[in-house]
Symmetry: C2
Subunit: 368 residues, 2 copies
């Protein structure tokens, strides 16, 4: 996507074919730093410490991680054993996003039968690139299908501004291009629909105010940053036409794991009869889980992410402590929105209800 | 209440009887500064800029503001004209808390008939002190009635920890002693009930993580700071037994205006069958308003309160900018929780349902 008139992705392979380049998303919007990932340890650190984040981008980064593992793989009988271990290490970097294991397994399945080291390397690179391009194409299609929904609201409002609320960052920074939740927004913007986005700041790490606001601003999309507390009030007063969020893992029954706080917005949307959509590529469906609240593992992260807030003061990025030094804090990173609160899913194959039968209508090959 | 073994209130009259002393709550927990209020302008600034906040404390501060106006009042025929203007200025400092106008009118009604300057001063001081002590007594009783509710949960849980979630600061810092939402918590603590408080940080101004956590910590009450996004997840997983919040204005029909985000917690409590209580002295009821969502004025404050976060960095309190410099922000300070989501009110006269008939059962003198 465009950043100051330059096309940019949050991840790319360096010309040397040995280094993965990523934007360090921890420092946006106040610092723009590109980081080199040269081996599996770098990849794990980048995922765990959230240089990269967002389910699709975690998947793509992990896929390139398997490629880096193949580059460092011994060419002997134990190669697959080595690669299995490296893949397991990558998969355990974070627990909630299902794309992580999905992407690693997808690349590994292509390379385990390869005859020698070079063939493994070639196969890994090919598959990682293919996963990346497939995510781009999926996001483009999500934008297309989501645009129809926004267009319908715009028509009903006779061209008045369409107000979309989003939580966290499910933008191109979380994917590769377009984003998931933002894909319909960018598509509507390109189609000259008058659109405005309420951006939940998304504590604790403020991916909304730091990343979504940055993305939208750089692209020229109208937006307003609000606290996570504000959405209910806006919905009560007719200031939100639609909610679109991303997801880190969605069960085949329609339960949506996404950034902590998503569930509260879904409750408010339901209470005010506002459509609540989740945009996702099929790689984010977990075809094995039935009950999201009981079964999706919810990551508990360092309480310091709650205690400290990062921002700019006199041109220096600082982390300031908000609560008293000795007050404990807890940091649950995700919550699960039950299917009953979700109006629908926007996928690369179209829009469906948050219900097993309708999900399988779009993805019939997943029927068991 | 106790702070490092010293008894403290957030407001008191100096020995010279000419100065009101208040804790500057904008700087807690990292700096503890006492500020002098010497005239009506100081009082308005302290209320508007939130040196003092919380409906009962705003009321008490405003009452002392009328006393300061009386001290500066000319002793002639225009005295009541002067005082009316000063009272109007104080009343317009903030729009949402009903205690502000209530307290100002109460003091003014006592002084307008006084014969001369000294009599007005004496009457104003007497009434302001009386309002202060009445709020203390009200909060003590709220604690008593709320304790019974917590005790019941503790018995059902056979003495296991009772987990209370609260939003913003409705503690003694927002009142004078005990607090409203915290009064039952302090009472339970004193009664040796095993109690733990989930403290919503309460963006944008973080009154939860800055003030409630500080209060509870100084008193020795177990607590954990969480993001405003986390409460729904905790409730889904059985980690919250009860929600208690304060309010800035509550209609006689039971609609509750409170810090922005309260409505979202009420929705989550209802969705998970968790009791949701509002603790309030009768001074916070607005006996004239019927429909809270339509009629209670919601203050929109400076967007910089959303854009900047205050905290400690290397022993210096700093304000750091979180979103991109040029991203707009909006700052709605309160929302309204409809009566249908409120389990009950804890008042100085007992517990009642959030419904006109039951509220008037406790306050029959308000029947028209």
């Amino acid at each position: 996507m465009k950043v100051d008139d330059k096309n940019l992705r949050p991840i790319w392979l360096d010309e040397n074919l040995k280094t993965i380049k990523v934007i360090d998303q921890r420092l946006l919007p106040h610092e723009f730093i590109i980081v080199d990932l040269n081996n599996v340890d770098d990849v794990i650190m980048a995922i765990k410490d959230m240089y990269v984040r967002g389910a699709p981008l975690i998947g793509v980064t992990a896929a390139y991680g398997v490629y880096l593992a193949a580059l460092n793989c011994p060419d002997n009988q134990t190669a697959n054993g080595f690669l299995t271990k490296e893949c397991d290490r990558i998969k355990s970097a974070r627990p909630t996003a299902v794309n992580l294991a999905w992407a690693v397994d997808k690349v590994f399945s292509k390379i385990k039968k390869a005859k020698d080291r070079q063939e493994k390397i070639d196969a890994a690179l090919k598959e990682a690139c293919s996963i990346e391009e497939k995510e781009v194409e999926n996001c483009r299609k999500i934008g297309e299908y989501g645009l129809a929904l926004i267009d319908e609201i715009s028509s009903k409002k006779k061209g008045e501004t369409v107000n979309v609320l989003t939580h966290c960052n499910a933008g191109w920074l979380a994917c590769v291009e377009y984003g998931t939740a933002t894909a319909p927004i960018y598509a509507a913007f390109e189609a000259d629909i008058d659109i405005h986005v309420w951006v939940d700041e998304t504590r604790p790490l403020n991916q909304g105010s730091r990343l979504t606001a940055w993305e939208l601003g750089k692209h020229g999309v109208k937006h307003t940053v609000i606290t996570d507390n504000a959405g209910g009030h806006l919905m009560q007063h007719g200031m939100v036409d639609m909610v679109i969020v991303g997801t880190d893992r969605t069960t085949y029954t329609g339960d949506v794991a996404n950034k902590i706080g998503t569930y509260l917005k879904a409750l408010a949307a339901r209470d005010n009869n506002i459509p609540f959509y989740t945009a996702l590529p099929s790689s984010t469906f977990d075809w094995n889980l039935k009950d999201g609240i009981k079964e999706i593992p919810i990551e508990e992260r360092d309480p310091d992410e709650v205690r400290f807030v990062q921002g700019l003061d006199h041109k220096i990025v600082r982390n300031v402590l908000v609560p008293p030094e000795n007050s404990p804090a807890a940091n649950f990173a995700f919550d699960v929105t039950p299917a009953r609160l979700v109006t629908g899913f926007i996928t690369e194959r179209g829009v469906c209800k948050a219900a097993e039968a309708d999900i399988l209508r779009l993805f019939p090959e997943k029927r068991v």
